[in-house]
């Protein structure tokens, strides 16, 4: 049940009516009051006209996942009014535009209904169709501010920042805020019991989406080439990179760009460009989603075999095929781990939130360069496009990027001869050269069979020598992967194991289970191949609940394949309806599984 600083607001609007900025204003105002928030978009694959929702979870405990209840629904969309009303928790509140009467059929005795004549008031106070629509959004923010006791000064401050250069908009927006606020205060007993109160829990935090965080990571990784084909939900990553580069990547002397963004004709070309640029020595990346990975697969295998670095961001969405492009899932991990024909396997990183999207991006580039192989960063729509409160990112200005084993002109000059695929250091990672460096560095890059000296071959032994070294390189990669996050509660034989965006729901579930005196241990894997500590963790438990957001238990399958984890210990808890996973789901499924165990 809702309480102080523990309330879920859901706003139902029509796509394309400009509600995003109003919703952002509301979410930011609560955050500025020092109260942790979670912001989730549920939007259609559509430009204008279809229903869209924004959900703000006010969470004094700082939980990161979606809640599965709605305390206060702002029902601004007649199309979905009945459903939206049905979603409100018993005893909750529903705000609607009372300009028009509601059908008597659409009533629920167990909720409180708050009518605000938003359209009528905005039509009286503002001119122009577009302005009236936009101001209606701002007016509902005002009404919610009254109902939840949000500080109007904070809202005003935010408007002043937003419209610093368009002063007249500050006054008109504040006018709209007051229309909603004053009406609610006059007609209803404000604030409601579940209201907000100032806290001090957001200092040194930001609210940001994962794609923007990854884009910023690319800037700090020193990426200079981004090639992409637009695809939901990855598009905002390149939008973010473009915006940051416009500010930080213009040569002050010439005014020219020190970065290149190429909108490719398709994903096949995007990854081809990335490999070409990486082969030349630039740090290059491509953001995409599942269908893009399918198209890129041939080239990903080429990168693996020819040993060319590349960074690929897969912001996963709901598959298979086109699936539900604006819904989330973690269903590409198997297809990414083994993308392409033949024996291939790829390094994957699993950020859990935008903070890790930032920190794991320079790491992805470093690993790609160090291991000379494509590295995929697997986030998902929930991380990539939703608003997460995370600690402020930090950057060590003395950080030294790892460009891996690249021979300089001087080193080549000293050498007798250079051979591309020789394991000189015993770590199964050969040296590479960049075209144009030195005549001695020249070699022929090919996806066809090659010897350790780099020559074409159809000789079995020479072929096998190279692919066997790639297996050894995989073991080197294992030692370089970020360690899993492991939390031991108290001694328990059962544990939860998850990855990526499952983190928030699982952590909250651990707390809830703890209150029922069920203490479970926790492991969140951050990368593939799995570090040895993942297998050790599994070995310490009798049962491990593998929580993942796909139908086929892909993480469980990978654990069995790569860590040789005993299958009978791994119980998959699968959430794959396209909505972000909730703590309630994890708790219920674990209780179910535990009761099965007791029955048996």
């Amino acid at each position: 049940m809702a309480g102080i600083n523990d309330v879920v607001i859901k706003i139902a609007t029509v796509n394309g009516t400009g509600s995003a900025s109003a919703n952002g204003l509301l979410r930011k105002a609560i955050f500025r009051m020092g109260i942790p928030v979670v912001g989730k978009n549920y939007f259609p694959s559509n430009i204008q006209g279809l229903p869209t929702w924004y959900e703000i979870r006010v969470t004094k405990d700082g939980y990161q996942c979606r809640s599965d209840r709605v305390d206060l629904m702002v029902a601004m969309n007649a199309q979905t009014y009945a459903k939206d009303m049905g979603d409100v928790i018993s005893g909750g509140w529903l705000v609607y535009d009372s300009t028009w009467p509601r059908s008597s059929l659409l009533n629920r005795a167990d909720i409180n209904v708050v009518g605000i004549p938003l359209s009528r008031m905005c039509n009286e106070h503002f001119d122009g169709v577009r302005t009236r629509i936009l101001m209606k959004n701002i007016a509902y923010v005002g009404a919610i501010a009254a109902l939840l006791d949000i500080d109007l000064e904070v809202i005003k401050g935010l408007l002043e920042e937003t419209f610093a250069e368009k002063g007249h908009l500050i006054a008109s927006n504040m006018e709209a805020i007051h229309l909603g606020y004053d009406y609610a205060v006059e007609k209803y007993s404000c604030p409601l019991p579940p209201k907000v109160e100032k806290m001090d829990a957001t200092g040194k935090h930001v609210v940001i989406d994962g794609n923007t965080a990854s884009a910023l990571g690319c800037v700090y990784a020193g990426a200079t080439v981004g090639a992409w084909y637009p695809i939901t939900p990855s598009t905002s990553l390149m939008d973010g990179f473009r915006a940051f580069c416009a500010q930080y990547r213009i040569d002050p002397e010439s005014g020219k760009r020190t970065y290149a963004i190429i909108q490719a004709e398709d994903e096949l070309a995007a990854i081809g460009m990335v490999l070409g640029a990486s082969w030349m020595g630039a740090r290059a990346f491509t953001p995409t989603s599942g269908p893009g990975i399918s198209l890129m697969s041939e080239f990903i295998g080429f990168g693996y075999y020819a040993e060319i670095p590349a960074v690929i961001f897969n912001v996963q969405r709901t598959g298979p095929s086109t699936g539900m492009p604006t819904r989330t899932q973690q269903s590409d991990i198997l297809s990414c781990a083994y993308a392409s024909h033949g024996d291939t396997k790829h390094v994957l990183l699993f950020p859990a939130d935008p903070y890790e999207c930032f920190t794991m991006t320079p790491l992805a580039f470093d690993l790609a360069d160090r291991l000379q192989t494509p590295v995929m960063v697997l986030s998902d729509l929930d991380i990539g496009m939703n608003d997460w409160m995370v600690p402020e990112f930090e950057w060590d200005d003395d950080y030294v990027h790892d460009r891996g084993k690249i021979l300089s002109a001087e080193e080549l000059e000293e050498m007798e001869a250079f051979y591309r695929y020789l394991d000189v250091d015993g770590d199964a990672i050969p040296y590479r050269t960049l075209p144009g460096t030195h005549p001695k560095g020249s070699y022929f890059t090919r996806g066809s069979g090659h010897t350790k000296l780099g020559a074409y071959t159809e000789n079995s032994r020479d072929y096998q020598e190279v692919v066997d070294r790639l297996t050894e390189k995989w073991e080197t990669a294992r030692t370089l992967m970020p360690a899993p996050e492991i939390v031991y509660s108290k001694f328990n034989k059962a544990a939860i194991l998850t990855f990526g965006s499952g983190n928030g729901a699982c952590k909250e579930a651990l707390d809830r289970l703890d209150k029922r005196n069920i203490g479970l241990n926790y492991c969140r894997v951050k990368a593939f191949p799995f570090s040895d500590s993942v297998r050790d963790f599994i070995d310490k438990h009798e049962v491990v609940y593998v929580v993942e957001q796909n139908r086929d238990a892909q993480l469980r399958a990978l654990l069995i394949l790569d860590s040789e984890a005993p299958p009978n210990k791994l119980v998959a808890l699968l959430h794959y309806n396209g909505m972000p996973i909730t703590a309630g789901f994890v708790v219920n499924r674990i209780l179910e599984e535990m009761s099965k165990g007791q029955a048996a």
């Binding site: 955050f31 500025r32 930001v206 609210v207 940001i208 910023l216 800037v219 700090y220 020193g222 200079t224 080439v225 090639a227 940051f244 930080y248 990547r249 040569d251 010439s254 020219k256 760009r257 020190t258 290149a260 190429i262 490719a264 004709e265 398709d266 096949l268 070309a269 995007a270 081809g272 460009m273 990335v274 490999l275 070409g276 640029a277 990486s278 082969w279 030349m280 020595g281 630039a282 290059a284 080239f299 080429f302 990112f393 950057w395 200005d397 990027h401 460009r403 075209p435 144009g436 460096t437 030195h438 005549p439 560095g441 020249s442 070699y443 022929f444 890059t445 090919r446 996806g447 066809s448």
Partner: protein, 351 residues
């Protein structure tokens, strides 16, 4: 296929270029294509063009896809970096490589299957972007490695060795490139090195996308009677329109060209090419006229060769994008970082 290893010594009287290298220094490994393959003649022409242009071998990038033609970069300029990519995707890899390092010279060798069937999408988009590269299509109308299927450039009525004649419209890379705005378009014949070498030199020097479509007969699968890409057919039907002569920087333009028959075009490095018009009716600067001329002669069964179109005014890819002159791959990573402590300022908007 030649089984004879190349001799390791060169004759002391071999001519040297400005870098002190002989043409032997621009050779590659021994070809594994069929004896008499047109592609080997193209390889020889590329060797001569690169040698005569004094290109440092390690400053040349040799790019290819998959197919007989795509194997050939191994057979020239061994001291260059080669990239034998996946089928039909050479243009994207070259685009990426070029965007990362604009200082190298790029030659992409492709075939009619690689460029006009599986890779037609990448081919057309490399043209749209005006990637600064020399794009060679070794065009034989047939798939060799998979043993003789027609490609998309096979002419209507052309007969295969076995089976029925082709019924589908061919894709002509030259008129395709013309419609897409390629800035240097030439066609040559592998059997005419005298014409081909200058066409390749002009293409290598051109600042922007240059296409050299080369009729290069497949001696094994498409050199019989009834083939429209055979040696005999091409020799009979070849019609030169505008040939090229290359003049290095500082070299005086000799007066052997009759006034009105030759037009000098200065290239970005100070060198010049002389456009030598053989058919006085042909205008290589007009896309519209070039189209009509090509079409009329195609309908008459003639293969038009020479420099067919040139536009030296359009900006190439980097200049269109407004990129720095230093290769992006050479920028020190420290120079790419926002100022010290700037992250805090960036994050303010997310509070």
């Amino acid at each position: 296929m030649s089984y004879i290893a190349k001799p390791g010594v060169t004759h002391p009287s071999l001519h040297k270029n400005k870098l002190g290298l002989t043409s032997r220094d621009y050779e590659g490994t021994v070809s594994t294509l069929c004896a008499g393959c047109g592609h080997d003649s193209v390889t020889a022409a590329i060797i001569q063009a690169v040698f005569e242009l004094d290109i440092e071998p390690h400053m040349l990038a040799k790019m290819s896809g998959i197919g007989c033609s795509s194997k050939t970069p191994a057979y020239f300029v061994q001291q260059s970096h080669g990239f034998n990519s996946v089928h039909g995707r050479m243009p994207s890899v070259t685009t990426g490589a070029y965007v990362a390092n604009r200082h190298l010279t790029y030659i992409g060798v492709s075939g009619d299957g690689d460029s006009l069937s599986i890779g037609v999408g990448q081919f057309v988009h490399a043209i749209r972007r005006n990637v600064n590269m020399c794009y060679v299509i070794e065009n034989n109308g047939v798939y060799g490695l998979t043993k003789g299927q027609f490609s998309a450039s096979a002419d209507i009525g052309s007969k295969p060795k076995k089976g029925l004649p082709n019924q589908q419209e061919p894709i002509d890379p030259v008129s395709t490139a013309l419609s897409l705005g390629a800035t240097y378009i030439a066609r040559g014949f592998s059997g005419d090195k005298v014409q081909l070498v200058p066409l390749l030199k002009g293409a290598l020097l051109h600042d922007g996308f240059s296409l050299v479509d080369i009729i290069s007969p497949c001696v094994t699968f498409n050199d019989h009677d009834g083939s429209t890409k055979s040696y005999a057919h091409t020799r009979r039907r070849d019609h030169h329109v505008v040939d090229l002569d290359y003049i290095a920087p500082m070299q005086e333009i000799t007066t052997e060209y009759a006034e009105g028959s030759a037009t000098p075009v200065e290239l970005h490095d100070g060198s010049k090419i002389m456009l030598r018009k053989i058919d006085s009716k042909y205008d290589p600067t007009s896309r519209a006229k070039a189209f009509k001329y090509l079409r009329d002669h195609f309908n008459a069964g003639e293969i038009i060769t020479g420099l067919l179109y040139m536009d030296d005014a359009r900006k190439e890819m980097h200049d269109l994008m407004g990129n720095v002159d230093t290769p992006l791959a050479s920028l020190p990573i420290e120079s790419l970082m926002p100022a010290k402590g700037e992250l805090g300022n960036i994050l303010k908007r997310f509070r």
